[in-house]
């Protein structure tokens, strides 16, 4: 049996729909319960639902063989996991955003509020911009509005939240979609089931893309 960790929230429904098209179905009844671990109807897979940032943790330790998680999380955690498949769902981008029309840094150091401290530090570090990273765990858009930071580094899906708070994207750091990640040991020890899943999901993801972008 393969254990698959799914990132709760934003991407969960899309991921389960994609898996269903790949022939891995979880019954509505099982999902309706609040259990955090459920099996698929055929009994070949066990799903665990965890916070996005925890998906690479479960996979890296081999507690989950595979996982579905956004590239943004993988960039931030730098997890040592295999990434055999771009699932082409949950598309969004990691971007720098600031108050529309705002000037640069105060006093020579750019104050950056973010849930992605590593991505932000690497981004500004690579261009030699001195920054002070302010790590927040939510509602990052507030920081520039209230003057906590000059700009933010955050996940942008439609840009609506930004616009509603008077912010605009300054620069895109990276595009992000959901990835299938696989534990290095499981990839070898459960090679047959893992490659079957990769095949099926890659087929389903291709179908999805054709449907989505005619």
């Amino acid at each position: 049996m393969l254990t698959i960790a799914i990132a709760k929230g934003r991407m969960q429904a899309e991921a389960l729909a994609l898996l269903a098209r790949a022939g891995v179905r979880v019954s509505e009844a099982a999902l309706a319960t609040r259990r955090l671990a459920v099996e698929d109807e055929a009994g070949g897979y066990r799903f665990i639902f965890v916070k996005p940032a925890d998906v690479p943790v479960y996979v890296e330790h081999g507690i989950a063989d595979c996982g579905v998680v956004g590239r943004d999380v993988l960039l931030e955690t730098g997890a040592d996991v295999l990434q055999p498949l771009d699932l082409k769902i949950g598309g969004c981008r990691l971007a720098v955003a600031a108050k529309a029309g705002a000037g640069g840094a105060r006093a020579g150091v750019l104050h950056v509020a973010t849930k992605y401290p590593r991505v932000a530090a690497a981004h500004f570090g690579s261009r030699g911009v001195p920054v002070e990273i302010i790590e927040l765990s939510g509602s990052v858009e507030l920081a520039p509005v209230l003057g906590l930071a000059d700009c933010i580094v955050d996940l942008v899906e439609t840009g609506r939240t930004l616009a509603e708070n008077g912010l605009a994207v300054v620069e895109t750091i990276a595009e992000s979609t959901a990835r299938l990640v696989v534990n290095r040991a499981s990839y070898q020890l459960k090679a047959a089931s893992v490659s079957k899943l990769i095949e099926a999901l890659s087929e389903a993801a291709r179908g999805e893309q054709k449907q989505g972008k005619p």
């Binding site: 081999g62 955690t77 040592d80 040991a185």
Partner: protein
């Protein structure tokens, strides 16, 4: 206690020692001599032996004369130096084995929290060619067999020439080579195809885009050989085919996989590379390969091949599976009472001589 340090005791400590004894027993049977290396050495030794990045994880401190020292971060560096210096005049090949603790101040990843680990391994120095490669693979397989893990382990084999030949054929500069290597390492097929397609000028070798997907038994090698278009990669595939012949002849094919997407340690290894996985361990429990360049940095260039196993990871797998290699779990002790201390000591001695386990009542 500092982070990443721990105690081992009781059944686990016995099991750990039994794992080590099992491995050392196999090495002994193949004629490997045990060697103990210094626990403290010059940092430069590890820097030369492991590369700057790996060595940078070591615990470092300074000697009285200001030179940088490090706690033993690996065994191979030190064994290679001994081969080139202390054993310079000894007849080749040299066969060494060891069981020792290694220390890393910074762990490799967040999945790895330990900073002290125990390694058991062997090095075959001064012998090149397929014979030496196969000897070391056979020794490793026998160690896993001895530990009762034969049916639960998977060896992956590859040859660094497969990737290096392709990188040459693609005429990649070091930076692009590293980007391609990382994509292959993560098995990111789409990312790899995209990067290769973006590459300006020249035809892309068919094999390059397929590297992430070429793993399996002999058929993976056959598929790769039908796609190969440069001499160095072809040579590497031929060497792997020879390894596979021997793996089949030894009846080990069920526990072995060819994995052309294994591209770790390319700066260190020069030929065969292999990794060892065991069911129940979330990361590999060992690995090794041929490193013909290492001894040159100690003044004597000669071929070398070896492997190392993570004693703690294997112990953990065995402990969780309830394996009792040491035959000591739930041990019984006789209690010895009596009138005077000397009577009790004498009685205990008599029983000990009969092979009983005795604890004095104090």
């Amino acid at each position: 206690m500092p982070g990443g340090m721990r105690y081992h005791f009781g059944d686990e400590a016995r099991l750990r020692r039994a794992v080590e004894a099992g491995a050392l027993g196999v090495f002994d049977g193949w004629g490997y001599e045990e060697i103990a290396t210094p626990a403290v050495d010059y940092y430069a030794l590890f820097e030369r032996g492991m590369g700057r990045e790996e060595a940078g994880r070591a615990f470092r401190f300074t000697d009285t004369d200001g030179r940088m020292l490090a706690l033993r971060a690996d065994l191979t560096s030190s064994v290679a130096r001994a081969a080139a210096t202390l054993f310079a005049a000894a007849p080749r090949p040299l066969r060494f084995c060891y069981a020792a603790s290694v220390f890393r101040q910074r762990p490799r990843s967040h999945a790895e929290w330990k900073r002290q680990g125990r390694q058991v391994g062997c090095e075959l120095i001064g012998a090149g060619g397929a014979g030496a490669d196969l000897e070391v693979l056979a020794v490793a397989a026998e160690v896993l067999e001895r530990l009762g893990l034969r049916g639960r382990c998977c060896f992956t084999v590859n040859h660094v020439g497969v990737f290096n030949g392709l990188a040459e054929e693609l005429r990649l500069d070091p930076e692009a080579r590293e980007r391609v290597r990382r994509l292959v390492d993560a098995r990111d097929a789409a990312g790899l195809e995209e990067l290769l397609a973006r590459r300006a000028g020249g035809e892309t070798p068919a094999l390059a885009g397929r590297l992430t997907r070429l793993s399996g038994k002999r058929e993976a090698l056959t598929a790769a050989r039908s796609l190969v278009s440069n001499g160095r990669t072809a040579e590497a595939l031929a060497a792997l085919a020879q390894v596979w012949d021997a793996v089949e002849a030894l009846g080990l094919a069920d526990a072995f996989e060819v994995d052309l997407g294994d591209v770790s340690g390319l700066d260190y290894y020069t030929g065969l590379i292999f990794k060892i996985y065991v069911e129940g361990a979330g990361a590999r429990v060992g690995g090794g390969g041929r490193y013909d360049e290492l001894t040159a940095s100690f003044g004597r260039r000669e071929p070398a091949v070896g492997f190392v196993l993570d004693t703690d990871a294997i112990t953990e797998v065995l402990a969780r599976a309830g394996v009792d290699l040491a035959g000591g779990n739930g041990r019984h002790f006789q209690s010895v009472g009596g009138e005077s201390l000397s009577e009790r000591l004498l009685e205990a001695q008599r029983r000990r001589a009969r092979g009983e386990r005795v604890r004095l009542a104090l």
